[in-house]
């Protein structure tokens, strides 16, 4: 696989309508989405998006429908042309590529997973998985071997001769994922990949993605409208609203320091104990307690303390003492928000 790649989005604007270029100046100067719509008949898709996604991490972009998240992800492989701005992948501007450079970039650098799977209904599962390889001109035998390996990885061996419509939604999305992984691209774009799946299957798929990522270390851009999913998967999370970034940070900072009321409303319904980690709520005070590894979530820490009959824990990074955490602090962190 090619080296993991970072993605930089800079000053990205997208306006939909007959003559977007004419309005980008006004939008930059602060015209609102409502004004642009009612006075000029154009729709503001994205306003001044700046995100830097480090290589080899999962970047989640979260927002409700209409927030522009699906528009944003389509700028990374340029399925949508921006009105102005830059998208840099390892320093190279995707928006400056010629048609054939772009095609090459899509074949070798990005792979995409779609909400409604985007599988080819007339091809069998294995022929869907090898589609990306076939487009690159890789021979059928090699492609098939690679395809079967990835089908096995997503737990679908034995299904290669079936057609997509014969499989359940969860299985179809595994095919979609296998297709994306088979192309061996360093960037994986997942557009609400799990939104159409049942909750239990969704959790399974999230686990599978995390397992795969631990080994593959791709740069993954994951779009979702579900904060639980965002918190579980994201190394970094960006929250979009009406085409603008309202908060960017990791799961801890979004849970502990939501930027505004909008995000507060999301955060309120989340099971904080499952996502907040001990090092985020501990204090660097002296004292003793039972050792707990940093990275443990509060739910697990509270359970461990209760089980051992202790009321304080020492947060340890290996043998190093990071801080101390009491049951009282845990309870107050869980009930805040």
């Amino acid at each position: 696989m090619t080296e993991a790649q970072s993605i930089e989005i800079r000053n990205l604007y997208k306006i939909f309508g007959g003559n977007p270029a004419a309005h980008v100046g006004a939008v930059r100067a602060g015209m609102s989405k409502a004004d642009l719509g009612s006075k000029h008949g154009h729709i503001l898709g994205l306003r001044d998006i700046n995100i830097s996604m480090p290589a080899g991490k999962i970047q989640v972009v979260m927002g409700l429908s209409g927030s522009g998240k699906s528009t944003l992800i389509r700028h990374i492989n340029r399925l949508i042309e921006p009105t102005s701005g830059q998208v840099l992948v390892n320093g190279q501007d995707v928006l400056r590529m010629s048609e054939s450079e772009l095609r090459d970039f899509r074949r070798t650098h990005t792979a995409m997973v779609f909400q409604k799977f985007g599988l080819l209904p007339h091809r069998t599962v294995i022929d869907n998985v090898t589609f990306g390889l076939e487009v690159c001109g890789i021979g059928p035998d090699t492609a098939r071997k690679t395809g079967l390996r990835w089908l096995d990885r997503v737990g679908l061996s034995g299904f290669e001769a079936r057609y997509p419509k014969e499989l359940s939604g969860g299985m179809q999305q595994r095919v979609g994922l296998a297709r994306a992984l088979a192309s061996d691209a360093p960037i994986l774009l997942m557009d609400e990949a799990y939104s159409a799946l049942d909750p239990l299957i969704r959790t399974d798929m999230q686990t599978m993605l995390l397992d795969l990522q631990a080994e593959l270390k791709k740069t993954i851009v994951f779009i979702t409208h579900d904060l639980d999913e965002a918190l579980r998967l994201g190394d970094g999370i960006v929250i979009l609203r009406d085409g603008e970034v309202v908060q960017a940070g990791d799961s801890q900072s979004i849970l502990l320091r939501p930027a505004d009321d909008y995000i507060c409303r999301f955060v309120r319904d989340v099971n904080r104990g499952r996502f907040l980690r001990v090092e985020s709520v501990m204090e660097e005070t002296p004292g003793d307690g039972m050792p707990i590894a940093s990275g443990t979530v509060l739910e697990a820490a509270a359970a461990a303390l209760t089980r051992e009959g202790q009321d304080a824990a020492l947060v340890m990074d290996g043998a190093r003492r990071l801080g101390r955490l009491t049951l009282r602090q845990i309870t107050s962190a869980l009930s805040a928000g």
């Binding site: 779609f114 080819l120 589609f131 487009v135 419509k165 359940s168």
Partner: protein, 295 residues
């Protein structure tokens, strides 16, 4: 008040001279270029005769066997095979075997040509929307034009016979295959297309690997209509010297041979049913993968 009663037409002398000028120049054109045009279309003549000879020259059991085989391969349904063979036998028993073979061979050749011309035109129509709108208007005109009108220009340029009849049939049968190719490509799921783009398909790869295969059932519906229109036009083209069942019908009209008309009419319907059943069942079979299980 005369002009209120009868519509004020252009000066009759003017109309006459316009007609004369156009007809005259057309005649002059055919006189000068007639031989060239005929030479140009000569290969068609060769192909048509080849097909005719093949259909009429082959022993009848072989033809029935071949038809049965085609029906089986494309439909996998014994019922359709049985119906097709029975109908063809009935046509033979009525003494219309030879004429039926002539008609079938012309329908087959014109359908093949219509597909060869119409499919690329449908793709072009889809790929260039502006040109597509112009083509769509032309197709509208073509589809409202009475079929007899198609005979006029070909007769003027090529006289009567197989080739002009064939050309009229092909032109008449073209619109459905063009339209339904365009429609089929347009109906391809947007997300599937987006996936093809996202994996770096070139326009050609997109066409061959995604659009055409997914449009195929719709295209088959177009081919089915094209066959039916070709069959209808083959009968009409008997007016300009195309042989086969149509000619018998024409004779029956002219001489009021009622039974001859009925028999030949039946034979035409039989052929229509055979072609229709086979091509429709084949089209349905192409969609098999869409029906199964989950959505």
């Amino acid at each position: 008040m005369d002009w209120l009663i009868s519509f004020p037409q252009l000066d009759p002398d003017l109309l006459l001279s316009v007609k004369r000028a156009i007809d005259g120049s057309l005649k002059a054109l055919t006189r000068t270029w007639g031989q060239g045009i005929e030479d140009f279309f000569h290969p068609l003549q060769v192909i048509l005769i080849l097909f005719e000879r093949a259909m009429t020259g082959v022993p009848w059991p072989l033809v029935i066997l071949a038809l049965g085989a085609v029906a089986w391969v494309s439909t996998r349904s014994w019922r359709i095979v049985a119906v097709a063979v029975a109908l063809l036998c009935a046509v033979g028993l009525l003494g219309l075997w030879e004429d039926a073979m002539l008609t079938i061979s012309l329908v087959l050749t014109s359908t093949i040509f219509a597909i060869l011309i119409g499919l690329p035109l449908g793709i072009v129509m889809n790929r260039y929307p502006r040109l597509g709108r112009v083509m769509s208007t032309v197709l509208d005109v073509m589809q409202t034009m009475p079929p007899f009108v198609y005979l006029i220009p070909v007769v003027m340029l090529l006289g009567i016979g197989r080739v002009p009849g064939f050309i009229a049939v092909v032109i008449y049968a073209l619109p459905p295959i063009i339209r339904l190719t365009d429609l089929g490509i347009r109906l391809v799921d947007k997300e599937v297309l987006e996936a093809a783009e996202a994996y770096g398909c070139s326009p050609n790869q997109k066409l061959w690997k995604v659009q055409l295969p997914l449009a195929l059932p719709t295209i088959m519906a177009g081919i089915n209509q094209t066959i039916m229109m070709a069959l209808g036009m083959v009968v009409i083209a008997s007016m300009i010297g195309v042989q086969g069942l149509g000619l018998n019908v024409l004779q029956a009209i002219a001489n009021q041979y009622f039974t001859q008309g009925i028999f030949n009419g039946f034979a035409i319907v039989a052929i229509a049913i055979i072609f229709d059943r086979i091509s429709q069942a084949y089209g349905r079979r192409l969609q098999k993968h869409r029906e199964a299980g989950h959505d």
